[in-house]
Symmetry: C2
C-alpha cells in the first residue's frame, strides 16, 4: 500500500495556471510561487461576487485513533466537484514543528490530499516564516526599548510578548534571556511559543486587509508598566514595520487537491488559545469564487466548531449552510473505553458506550439552527453492523449520517455524503441562526453558555486569580470581549482522560489571557502547552532527500 507522500508524489499535478483559469482569476489577482502554488488577492470587483454556500467540517473529540477531518474535507470537496458543482476547499496551513515531530503533515491522507504535499508541509509560500520573523522582530524591539533607557517604563517582569519558533522544542518553553553583562540586555524570564500560537497568527487570520491588520497589531498588549498599566504595540510605534513584514503573508495560497479541486490554504491558529480555522480572507475568497466552500475547524466541535460559530461567523459575515460532524467507529469505541490496540476488532458494546460523545456534539451543533449531517469516515476494519449503529444513533437526533471512504477512494468514496450535504444546504435559512451568546454579555455568562450548551456540563468555576483578573479587566472593557476557551481537545470536560459524554462536571478557569490585537479573551482551563516537544523517535529521523530532490519519510 502506498504511503501518503508516495500517492502525492505520483499525482498528476496541474500547473497552477490551469487551476487559476478554472477558478477564473484575472492576471492581476494572483502571483505564482513555484509552478504549483500561487498567492491570491481578489480585485474589488471580484469581491462583489455573490457568496457561495459554506460547509463547515467539524468532529467528535479527537482520540489517538484518528478522525480524518482534513481527509473528509478534501474528499467531500472532490465529490462535489465530481458532481459538477463549482467547489473550493479552505484549510489551515500545517505547522513545521509537528511535521518534524510526531504528528506528521496536515494535508489530508490517502486519495484525499492537497498537493504539493511536501511543500505545503514545509515552507509553503513562507507565511509562517514571515510570522516568526515579525513576531521575533517585535520581541527584539521590546527588549531593545528596555535596554535603551526604557522610555515606556515597561516592567521587565510583566512582559507578555514571548518569542516564537515553528519548531517543537521543549527546551525553549522557559528561558532566561539578556544574560552576558551590560552590553547584552536586561536579564529577565522569557519563553518561546510555537509560531501557530502567536497572537500575530490569530491576527493574520482575522484581518480583512492590510489596514485592518495594522490596527489589530497596534492594539496588541505587549506588557505592563510598573504602575500595571497596559503597554501596546502602538505605544512602541512599530505597527507599520510589523505589518510590512506580513504584506505577502496576508494573501491566501492557492493549490489543488489530488483531483484538481482548487484549495485555499492559509493560516493555522491553534484551536485552543485561538480560533482554530484558516483565515477569514481565505474563506471569503473561496466563497466569492465558488458555489460550495468546504472548510474545517480545528479539534472537535466543542473547540473549533464552537469558535467558528460564535467568533468567526460574525467576523466573516456568513453563517455556514451545513455543518458536517466527522466520526469514526474506531474513535467512538475509544470514547466507549476500548484500548487503542483492540480497535480493529468489532466491539458493539464499546461503540454503544462511546456514541454519547457524538450525541453531545450533534446536540450542540443543532442548537445553532444550521443543518447538521454526520460523516462516518470509514476504516478498513469497520463492520456493517457498527456503521449501521452509528447511523441509527445519528438519526435519533434527526441527523442523517453517511459512510464515506475518502482515504481509499477520494471523492468517489463520498458521493452519498456530497449529495446529502447539498440537500442539507437547501434547508439552510440564515434567519434560523441562533448565536450562543450576545456580545454585551459578561465573560462569565458567555462561558457558562459554552459550558452548558456546548460541553454539556454544569458551570464554570473561576480560580481566585481569574476572578481578580476579570475585575481588573472591567477597567479596560476587556471583560466584554468574545471568549476563546483553551481546553483539552480530548474531552468535553477539562480533564483530558474523561472520554465519552460526561455530564456531571464543572469547567475550571485557571487564568485569562487578554489578546487585544486578536480581539478576544482566552479562558485557560488546566495547562495548555503552547510549545510542543519532540518524541523519542522524531519524524525527522526518517526524512531524507536524494540527489534528484526526491523526498522520502515525510508523512
Amino acid at each position: 500500500m502506498k504511503t501518503d507522500i508516495e500517492i502525492a508524489q505520483s499525482a498528476d499535478i496541474w500547473p497552477i495556471e490551469k487551476i487559476v483559469d478554472q477558478v477564473g482569476l484575472s492576471a492581476d489577482e494572483w502571483e505564482p510561487y513555484g509552478r504549483d502554488k500561487a498567492k491570491v488577492q481578489l480585485s474589488e470587483s471580484t469581491q462583489q461576487n455573490k457568496l457561495g454556500k459554506l460547509i463547515l467540517v467539524t468532529s467528535i473529540n479527537p482520540t489517538p485513533a484518528g478522525e480524518g477531518k482534513s481527509t473528509v474535507t478534501v474528499g467531500l470537496a472532490d465529490a462535489l466537484m465530481q458532481q459538477k458543482r463549482k467547489t473550493m476547499v479552505a484549510l489551515r496551513e500545517p505547522s513545521l514543528g509537528p511535521v518534524m515531530g510526531l504528528k506528521g503533515g496536515a494535508t489530508g491522507g490517502g486519495y484525499s490530499q492537497v498537493i504539493p504535499m511536501a511543500d505545503i508541509n514545509m515552507h509553503f509560500t513562507g507565511d509562517f516564516h514571515a510570522l516568526t520573523s515579525a513576531h521575533n522582530t517585535l520581541a527584539a524591539l521590546i527588549d531593545n526599548s528596555l535596554y535603551q533607557g526604557n522610555p515606556l517604563h515597561l516592567d521587565s517582569r510583566r512582559i507578555l510578548w514571548k518569542r516564537a519558533l515553528d519548531v517543537n522544542d521543549r527546551a525553549l518553553r522557559h528561558v532566561t534571556i539578556g544574560l552576558g553583562g551590560p552590553t547584552s540586555g536586561i536579564p529577565r524570564e522569557d519563553g518561546f511559543d510555537i509560531t501557530v500560537a502567536s497572537e500575530l497568527m490569530a491576527i493574520l487570520t482575522l484581518s480583512h486587509d492590510l489596514d485592518g491588520m495594522k490596527q489589530r497589531i497596534s492594539r496588541i498588549v505587549i506588557g505592563y508598566t510598573y504602575d500595571k498599566e497596559p503597554v501596546t504595540v502602538a505605544d512602541l510605534g512599530v505597527e507599520g514595520a510589523i505589518t510590512t513584514l506580513l504584506k505577502d503573508a496576508i494573501k491566501p495560497n492557492l493549490v489543488q487537491t489530488l483531483a484538481h479541486t482548487p484549495a485555499l490554504i492559509h493560516g493555522g491558529p491553534f484551536a485552543n488559545i485561538a480560533q482554530g480555522t484558516n483565515s477569514i480572507l481565505a474563506t471569503k475568497t473561496a466563497l466569492q469564487l465558488s458555489d460550495y466552500t468546504v472548510t474545517e475547524a480545528g479539534f472537535g466541535a466543542d473547540l473549533g466548531g464552537e469558535k467558528f460559530l460564535d467568533f468567526k461567523t460574525p467576523l466573516l459575515g456568513k453563517v455556514p449552510d451545513t455543518i458536517v460532524v466527522v466520526a469514526t467507529v474506531r474513535a467512538l469505541k475509544m470514547h466507549g473505553g476500548e484500548n487503542k490496540q483492540h480497535l480493529t476488532k468489532p466491539n458493539l458494546t464499546a461503540l454503544k458506550q462511546g456514541l454519547g460523545n457524538l450525541g453531545q456534539h450533534l446536540k450542540s451543533m443543532k442548537r445553532y439552527g444550521v443543518p447538521v449531517v454526520v460523516a462516518i469516515n470509514k476504516f478498513t476494519h469497520d463492520t456493517a453492523e457498527e456503521l449501521a449503529l452509528v447511523s441509527d444513533y445519528a438519526k435519533s437526533f434527526g441527523v442523517d449520517a453517511y459512510v464515506a471512504n475518502v482515504w481509499g477512494q477520494g471523492g468517489s468514496g463520498a458521493q452519498e455524503l456530497a449529495t446529502g450535504v447539498v440537500q442539507a444546504t437547501e434547508r439552510a435559512n440564515y434567519q434560523d441562526f441562533k448565536p450562543l451568546y450576545q456580545p454585551e454579555d459578561d465573560a462569565l455568562v458567555k462561558i457558562n453558555h459554552i459550558v452548558q450548551e456546548i460541553y454539556g456540563g454544569h458551570k464554570a468555576v473561576l480560580s481566585a486569580k481569574a476572578e481578580k483578573q476579570l475585575a481588573t479587566f472591567k477597567k479596560y472593557g476587556w471583560d466584554k470581549l468574545p471568549i476563546i476557551m483553551a481546553k483539552t481537545q480530548n474531552s468535553l470536560t477539562d480533564d483530558a482522560k474523561r472520554f465519552g459524554a460526561p455530564t456531571d462536571f464543572d469547567i475550571h478557569i485557571r487564568e485569562f489571557m487578554p489578546k487585544l490585537g486578536a480581539g478576544f479573551l482566552v479562558a485557560l482551563t488546566g495547562s495548555i502547552l503552547t510549545m510542543p516537544g519532540l518524541p523519542k523517535h522524531p519524524a525527522a529521523l526518517d526524512i531524507d532527500i536524494d540527489s534528484d530532490g526526491h523526498i522520502t519519510g515525510l508523512n
Copy 2:
C-alpha cells in the same frame, strides 16, 4: 532628491519571464516566485557552457563614511550591459536583522540597485527563513536527544550548536534554556546567532548540489561527549531531514537591476566567521550564463577579498579575471584621521595620510597575479584634486583607477570603469595565479601568510587556549583545514580603531572554531559579535505600509 526605495518603487520593473528569456533559460530551468523573482536550477547541458569572465569587486577597509561596494558592483554590471556585453551580477542576500536595525538594506543605492528592493530586503524567496528553520530544527533535535536519555553521551556543557534568528536581538546572545522542570528539558547555557552566522549558511553557499550539501551537513560537529570526542549531525542521524528543509534554498534567485541586468542573489555568509560571498552555485550559474559576471566579497580586501581568493576560488574552480578595489575619497580621509563630520570639506592632508590603506590592499591583491583596477566611487563633495590624488597614487602601484558615479548615474556613470575592467580581463592569465598558501601547510603557517602578505603585519600570536586547541585538532586532522580569519573589518590590524595602514603589529588569535561542515577553521581575533543589537532609534520605527501595500521608510 529621491530615496533609494522611492527610486526602486518608481522603476519600470520587467516581468521575470523577460529576464529569463534574456538569460536564455529553458522552462525547466526556473520557477517563478511572484512576478519579478525566480529560482534557477540549470540543466546538465547548460552546466557544460563555457564559463564567462569573473570580476571580483572588493574594497579598502570599510569606514562609517561608506564605500558603496554593492552600488559599484551593480553600476559596473549595468555599464557592461550598456556596452552590449552579456553580463550578470552575483550578490549576497541581505539579512533582515540589520534592515530593521541601523544598516538598512543591501541592494545597492541610488541608480545602481537590484529590485524588487523591498522584497529582496525582507523575505525574498525564503532562503534565510529556510536556514533559520533548519538551524533551529537541528537545535531542537539535539536538545531532544539530551532529554530522551542522551544516547550519544553529549556533554550538555559542550554543545557547540547554538540557535539562530534573522533578527538583531542582543537579549538572545546569552540565554539559559531547558528551565521549567523535568518536562521541559535539560537546563543549560545557550545563545542565539543571527542566521547569516549559522554554519548552515556557509554550507548552503559552498555546496554544488543536494548530495554535497548533505555530506557537509552530516559532518557538522554539534558538540562533544563527556570524553571530549566530537559528535556530528551524522551521529544524530538527521542530515536527511535538515537537507530536505534546504531543498529550495539551495537554488540561486534571479532578479534584475534597475537597468534590467540579470542578477543572481543568493546566500549571505558573514565575511569574518565565514567566507563572506554569495553562493558558489550563484557564481557558477552566472559564469555559465554570461560573458561577464560581476560579484563582490564582503568587507575589505583583507577579509572578503582574501577569502574569495584563498578559499572560494579553489572550490569554484575559477580564478577571477580582474579584481576591482573600491575606494572613496571620504573613506580614505577617515583612514587619514579626519572626523566623519568634516568629510564634505576638501582635505588633501588627511587624504594623503589615508591612502596607505588603499596601498596595502593593492599590494595584497596584486600578489595573486590577477589584474587589479581601482574604482573611485564618487561622492558629491569630492574635488577634482582629491580624485586625481587617488588616481595618481594607484598608478604608483601600476594600477589604473577610474572615477565612477554609479549612485547618481547608474551604468552611465561607470563607462570608463567598465572599459578599463574589460581591458584588464584581457591581460588575465590563469597560470599567473599565485595562491597564498598550500592546502598541506600548518594552520599557523597559513595564518602567518595572511598576516604578513595581506594585512602587512608581523606575525600571528596564539593565546594559550588557541595553542592547546591546535594541539587537540591535530588528532582529527582539523589543523590542515583552510583558515577563515575572524577579524574586525575596520582595520588591517585586529584593533578596530587603528585606521590607515599600520605596519608594526601582530595579530592575536584568541580561539579557533572548527567548522567541519563548512570545511574551515575559524581563527578568532578579539571578540566577534555573531548577534547584533538594535540602535536607540531602530529603522523599524520609520517603516510603514499603506492600504495599497506601498512601503515607506525602508532604506
